[in-house]
């Protein structure tokens, strides 16, 4: 294969890429900014972070000894951030989305609960007002309130004698492959955003190719005594180099600023990155081969990319998806890229866990490139 033309194409594409300030900002600054934001939001229970507390409102309409005991117990709970408010405030705040959930202890709740515990009357209602968009918090509060209420009512019924207590303690252990590897939400967000903007950079290269055709540059390239394989290899190489730069610069920032670590295999991490860049390069060629004009190609390919990164778990982890959707997303290359990076960073897994993502990503790279070569419009009318 002709190395001089391929090297020249890579050098030229890098020069053109870095000459376009907007493209550079898009490729490097944007993923870092957005990944930093997502990482902050989803930083999870990593070292040095305070445990997240469940925010709730509590309304005491009963003002009984039992309701006071419940509220004291709730406020003392380290897992909850409870604020006492009146009923109107609670309703208004939940309605506006300012608070996810409010617990209302209605008038007469204490007496009725005492009677219900010994079976002499029906059970009173503990009212829970919740924002329908925050049903997870509703379920959590529902569960969390049970021991507080049970303890307060039991103490009121049985006095200071033996109390109802949870008959076990909980030991929590975050599982990563290495003991020293703590979960770092930035690792996932930088992987996701790195992949997204890597694909955007690939789209730009594909569109650049279409623009080159419009400007007559392709005519000149095709008049040189170089093969189609050389031309495609040159484009594929430059897209891979630029894609790798986008990914690894983004990760380097995360490592330096947010202490993300490659707790797993470094070779696996690099392998996933390069395979991912090759996949994106093939995708860029596909955009160039299927697109008729730069503008038409840009719109369709950005839409396709957003779907791919969304389904691949680049925005939010795939475990929040319904089970059927989780199964389907294995046909999306970004899913393998995100899983591969997660495995090599915060999960701290060995290179064997990178093999499958690398193989699948290379498979997608081959598929995209083959379809691009097949569909590419080689001749100038």
């Amino acid at each position: 294969m002709a190395l001089i033309p391929i090297r020249a194409m890579v050098k030229k594409d890098l020069q053109v890429f870095f000459a376009d300030r907007r493209a550079v900002i898009m490729a490097f600054a944007m993923p870092i900014a957005i990944a930093s934001f997502f990482g902050f939001i989803f930083r999870g229970d990593s070292q040095g972070n305070q445990r997240s507390r469940l925010e709730m409102l509590i309304v005491d309409q009963d003002s009984s000894a039992i309701s006071q005991a419940i509220i004291s117990s709730v406020i003392a709970d380290q897992n909850l951030a409870a604020t006492i408010v009146d009923a109107d405030t609670a309703r208004s705040r939940v309605l506006r989305g300012a608070s996810p959930v409010a617990v209302v202890i209605s008038r007469g709740f204490g007496d009725s609960a005492k009677a219900a515990l010994v079976g002499s009357s029906g059970r009173p209602q503990l009212r829970i007002l919740y924002d329908p968009s925050r049903s997870i918090e509703r379920a959590m509060v529902n569960g969390v309130m049970t021991p507080h209420v049970m303890q307060a009512v039991a103490r009121a019924v049985f006095g200071d004698g033996p109390q109802l207590q949870r008959p076990y303690d909980v030991h929590e252990e975050a599982l990563t492959a290495r003991v020293e590897a703590a979960y770092n939400g930035y690792a996932h967000s930088f992987a996701g955003m790195g992949i997204q903007f890597l694909l955007f950079a690939a789209i730009n290269l594909g569109i650049e190719l279409l623009t080159e055709r419009q400007r007559g540059l392709w005519t000149r390239l095709r008049s040189a005594p170089i093969s189609r394989v050389t031309l495609l290899s040159g484009k594929l190489s430059s897209a891979t180099v630029i894609g790798s730069l986008v990914l690894f610069v983004s990760f380097a920032f995360a490592i330096i600023v947010f202490h993300v670590s490659v707790a797993g295999s470094l070779a696996g991490f690099l392998g996933v990155g390069i395979a991912c860049a090759l996949m994106a390069a093939g995708y860029g060629l596909l955009v160039a081969s299927l697109g008729k004009t730069p503008n038409a190609a840009r719109g369709a390919s950005i839409f396709a990319t957003l779907i791919m990164v969304m389904l691949g778990g680049a925005w939010v982890p795939t475990f929040v998806f319904p089970e059927w959707l989780q199964k389907i997303t294995v046909v999306v290359p970004t899913r393998w890229a995100v899983d591969g990076f997660d495995a090599m960073t915060w999960r701290g897994l060995g290179i064997e866990s990178a093999v499958m993502p690398i193989v699948v990503l290379l498979g997608f790279a081959l598929l995209f490139t083959a379809v691009a070569a097949w569909r590419f419009r080689w001749e100038e009318a």
């Binding site: 033309p5 007559g216 005519t219 000149r220 390239l221 008049s223 001749e379």
Partner: protein, 242 residues
């Protein structure tokens, strides 16, 4: 040097080029004339290997061109109608890139770049980005890229479109020099005075077919009119073309 024999190209029912044959000899410039859509650019594209001919052949010194990687393609230099330049790069970087496509590298490439820039009088602007160039300078750089690998045959597709008289005159001087060096030049244009000044022979194409192939004097005498423009109109008619 260049022999085009019975070239034909059809796009579905539309026959763009039909049985076109002509030759271009060493040290000569052949003007390829025709109205819009006559088939000039398609003919040029087939010669340059950009479009595959349905039938016919292109020979250089008796040897037929075969395939896109045929080393004989090095003997062609194409100057396309579009300004096929990277505006974001300097003139030197443009030349460096296109030179590498012909496997030029190192000292050989540097020397070729120097010669090409000198030829088109752009040596002092070598480091400037192309986007800062005037239309005429871009046209001259477009020509320089075609000359970079020292081709024997130059295919020029309307190389003076939109340039000022000074740049046009400079390009003419370049072409005269190239002829004197023994290069074969095939030149398409709509400007009759350019062909009158430069061409040793003129091929007129219309509706994809060669309708005349002669010297300027031969054409005017056989048509019985004084100018090439009158010859052209008598051959192709006065009706407007798309």
């Amino acid at each position: 040097m260049l022999r085009v024999s019975h070239l034909r190209k059809a796009y579905g029912a539309l026959v763009a080029v039909d049985d076109v044959s002509f030759t271009v000899d060493r040290g000569k410039l052949v003007g390829l004339l025709g109205p819009n859509g006559a088939g000039k650019t398609t003919t040029l594209s087939m010669i340059a290997g950009l479009v595959t001919a349905d039938t016919g052949s292109v020979d250089i010194d008796g040897k037929a061109l075969s395939g896109e990687t045929d080393p004989a393609k090095r003997r062609f230099g194409l100057v396309p109608q579009d300004l096929a330049l990277y505006d974001e790069l300097s003139a030197r970087d443009n030349l460096r890139f296109f030179g590498a496509l012909y496997d030029l590298a190192g000292r050989e490439l540097d020397d070729a770049i120097g010669r090409a820039l000198e030829t088109v009088s752009l040596a002092d602007r070598a480091k400037d980005k192309v986007k800062t160039f005037s239309g005429g300078m871009k046209r001259r750089l477009n020509l320089a890229i075609g000359l970079l690998h020292d081709p024997d045959i130059l295919l020029l597709d309307e190389p003076t479109v939109g340039v000022d008289p000074q740049s046009r005159n400079a390009i003419f001087d370049n072409l005269e020099q190239l002829k004197a060096q023994g290069k074969a030049l095939l030149y398409t244009t709509h400007y009759m005075e350019e062909v009158e000044r430069l061409a040793d022979r003129i091929v007129v194409i219309d509706h994809g077919r060669v309708i005349a192939d002669n010297t300027l004097d031969g054409l005017t005498q056989s048509a019985g009119v004084p100018t090439l423009e009158a010859v052209f109109l008598s051959l192709t008619g006065k009706s407007l073309r798309d």
